[in-house]
């Protein structure tokens, strides 16, 4: 079965999800054709062709950064070639394109997919629902083409087989310039801003950290585990960390895989913002601190001792 994937690129860079899409497509065991749209595509085409069986390149500046144009062009290619599956990342671009495409083609669609396989000629996907608490298996209905959007980071592209496929230029099937949706500009997040809601690991500090001078210790631990430092409200009130690091009902709601709470008592307003974390570990010298009732693991000790010890141990394990 032939699977078409979208090669996603932004500001001159190919996105990792392109190769993850190829990796996902390979699980369906057949020819993988990549679609590459926009301008200045020669380099990208080379890189994608290394792992795809074929690359279709449409150079047309009217398509660049315009998801409406993307949707139409992909739609035209699919209607003509009728691949069994069209697959792309469930990225901000994918969320724009994939559902619209499924409507245009009257195709079944599965978004935010984390597993994919073929079963008796039908496509079976695995996707998470209820905010990640439940995984569901779905079998897509019979259709000429099915649309699938995969979650980034779920399909490893580490062991892709080299294919060195052919690169084919295709005339742009875009009928007219898209007027109802225009790309204006890329807006960069403010320099230095950290989005704690996106981090998998949060090293969260509370009033128990005692002094601003102790914060580098938390940063060091965060660096060692590849996490980000967040905090409770007093830490913001004391001006030790900026407002956008505050976890809680009047700060940010976070759901990291791992939340380490250092010197945080576990007040209602704080807990409401982090209790959705997959794993919570609390470090507090007061055994009666309410944070222990939401934590899976706890350490009753001075955080100023625990934090550096943990950093050292992690560095040791990594080296």
């Amino acid at each position: 079965m032939t699977v078409y994937i979208l090669a996603e690129h932004r500001r001159g860079e190919l996105m990792d999800v392109t190769f993850e899409s190829i990796s996902a497509a390979r699980r369906l065991n057949d020819e993988v054709v990549a679609i590459l749209l926009g301008t200045d595509l020669a380099d990208h085409a080379e890189k994608v062709a290394k792992y795809a069986d074929k690359v279709l390149v449409v150079e047309d500046e009217r398509i660049e950064n315009n998801t409406e144009a993307y949707t139409q062009v992909i739609g035209e290619i699919i209607k003509k070639d009728k691949p069994k599956v069209f697959l792309m990342g469930n990225t901000s671009m994918g969320m724009d394109i994939a559902p619209a495409l499924a409507i245009d083609l009257d195709s079944p669609i599965a978004t935010d997919v984390v597993g994919i396989s073929e079963e008796g000629g039908r496509i079976k996907v695995n996707r998470s629902v209820y905010n990640g608490k439940v995984l569901s298996d779905l079998v897509l209905r019979e259709a000429e083409t099915s649309v699938i959007a995969i979650r980034s980071g779920e399909f490893s592209a580490a062991d892709l087989e080299e294919k060195n496929g052919e690169i084919t230029k295709v005339d742009s099937p875009l009928k007219e310039t898209i007027e109802n949706k225009k790309f204006l500009e890329f807006v960069e997040p403010v320099a230095g801003a950290v989005d704690i809601t996106q981090a998998d690991v949060l090293i969260s500090v509370g009033r128990g950290i005692k002094d601003k001078d102790n914060l580098p210790m938390a940063e060091e631990l965060a660096d060692a585990v590849g996490g980000v430092v967040s905090c409770s409200r007093p830490v913001v009130d004391y001006d030790w960390l900026p407002k956008d690091r505050q976890v809680g009902t009047s700060g940010k709601t976070v759901k990291p895989k791992f939340y380490l709470a250092f010197g945080i008592s576990g007040a209602f307003q704080h807990v409401a913002g982090m209790k959705g974390a997959t794993m919570i570990v609390a470090i507090n010298k007061d055994i009666k601190a309410p944070i222990f009732s939401v934590a899976q693991y706890g350490i009753v000790d001075d955080l100023l001792k625990v934090m550096p010890a943990l950093t050292e141990k992690i560095k040791e394990l990594k080296s």
């Binding site: 009033r207 007093p234 009902t249 009047s250 700060g251 209602f268 409401a272």
Partner: protein, 395 residues
């Protein structure tokens, strides 16, 4: 409460009568520490420049204390204009994420705290006394309306338990609604969710009617205010739109008013209490004081407690400094920088020589409790709801 469609603030709120004197901004509880400038927002309303609202992040700084409305020399309602502006932002979907989550949770869980409905009555588990549950068919003269914050926040749950102990000791015939208790809608209304508020008014009046409830005692001044002032007005408007609403007259009292009556009837006095030791300063909540002119009842209760030395803030009664807990501020930090009002308040209390700050509102308790720790008074000062003080002293 008024429906505001984009571009008609002028009609809805009579804003043309505004002479831009600036008394609203001058009185505002947060204007010193945030960009909130009500006079400017009034001018925007007059000029009908709704399209600018999204840029005015400070619209979410308003604590809805209501002082601007109290002081307006033209009897306008600037505090309502802000709610109107929030409404149009809610309509447009451009609101702070935390506010959105709180409103969404009212819709799905019947409380703004994102907690399941099934856990609303968990605070009852640590109680020694048995309390009637009106939703299970038990009959009682009064409904004790607990409210969302006092149901879920562990610190404030202690007030709910104190209330049960005290009312039981005083032989009051009361019951609660347990898990069936709904959100009163005050905070959603203040956050501009007009539609949700109307739905709650309709549902709640129907629920009260179903359980034969006509007398309500509230823990929170916010619930008190909305039942007394917003519900009748909203119900009237809904009826005019042919919505079926039961015709019930609610007799609603804040618990301090109810206890004052018990004092007047000789059912509560100092003889019934053990000695309290402490210098107590009472913090007027805006929704009792400024918004409803209820100043005396809480003071009367504190004054009969033997051993309690009662003192007063310089800024008290209708000049009381707002704690910044209302108007959705539980879920929005606002643009403010510098010292929180709650910190100023606990510092004032400390300077005045108080070692107990007495409050009569769950939001005041939250903000002042937090502030007294932040300001370093954890060991030397207590922030207590009047119900908690009574629970401690009643024999």
């Amino acid at each position: 409460m008024m429906e505001v469609e984009e571009g008609n603030f002028d009609e809805a709120y009579d804003v043309y009568a505004c002479m831009q004197c600036g008394k609203c901004t001058g009185s505002c509880a947060v204007s010193l520490r945030s960009d909130l400038n009500i006079r400017e927002l009034m001018r925007i309303a007059i000029l009908n420049k709704n399209e600018d609202l999204e840029k005015h992040e400070e619209i979410w700084d308003c604590t809805s204390c209501g002082i601007c409305t109290v002081r307006c020399p033209r009897d306008l309602k600037p505090a309502e204009v802000i709610i109107g502006m929030r409404s149009s932002l809610v309509e447009g979907g451009t609101i702070p994420v935390t506010v959105r989550d709180a409103l969404e949770s009212v819709g799905t869980n019947n409380n703004p705290w994102g907690r399941p409905k099934s856990k609303r009555a968990e605070w009852l588990e640590d109680l020694d006394v048995k309390v009637k549950n009106i939703s299970e068919g038990e009959e009682a003269e009064y409904l004790l309306y607990i409210g969302c914050t006092a149901s879920y926040d562990p610190r404030i749950q202690s007030v709910s338990r104190a209330a049960i102990n005290v009312l039981t000791k005083l032989g009051v015939d009361f019951g609660i609604l347990g898990e069936e208790e709904p959100c009163c809608g005050s905070e959603p209304r203040m956050m501009g969710e007009t539609g949700l508020f109307e739905m709650l008014v309709e549902d709640n009046l129907t629920l009260f009617d179903e359980f034969g409830i006509s007398k309500i005692i509230t823990l929170s001044p916010h619930a008190y205010n909305t039942f007394v002032n917003d519900y009748p007005e909203c119900a009237k408007r809904l009826k005019e739109d042919d919505v079926e609403i039961p015709d019930i007259e609610l007799e609603v009292k804040h618990y301090t008013q109810f206890l004052e009556e018990l004092i007047d009837d000789g059912r509560l006095d100092g003889e019934m209490m053990n000695e309290f030791s402490g210098t107590v300063i009472y913090h007027d909540p805006c929704y009792l004081g400024k918004r409803n002119n209820i100043f005396e009842p809480p003071r009367k209760i504190l004054n009969i407690i033997p051993g309690a030395r009662c003192i007063e803030f310089d800024r008290r009664e209708d000049r009381s400094l707002c704690c910044e807990g209302g108007g959705g501020r539980m879920w929005a930090e606002g643009t403010g920088t510098g010292e929180r009002n709650a910190i100023i308040r606990v510092n004032d209390a400390n300077q005045d020589g108080a070692n107990v700050i007495a409050v009569a509102c769950p939001f005041c308790l939250s903000t002042l409790e937090d502030a007294h720790v932040t300001a370093g008074y954890e060991e030397t000062m207590r922030v207590m709801d009047i119900f908690e003080i009574l629970d401690e002293v009643l024999k």
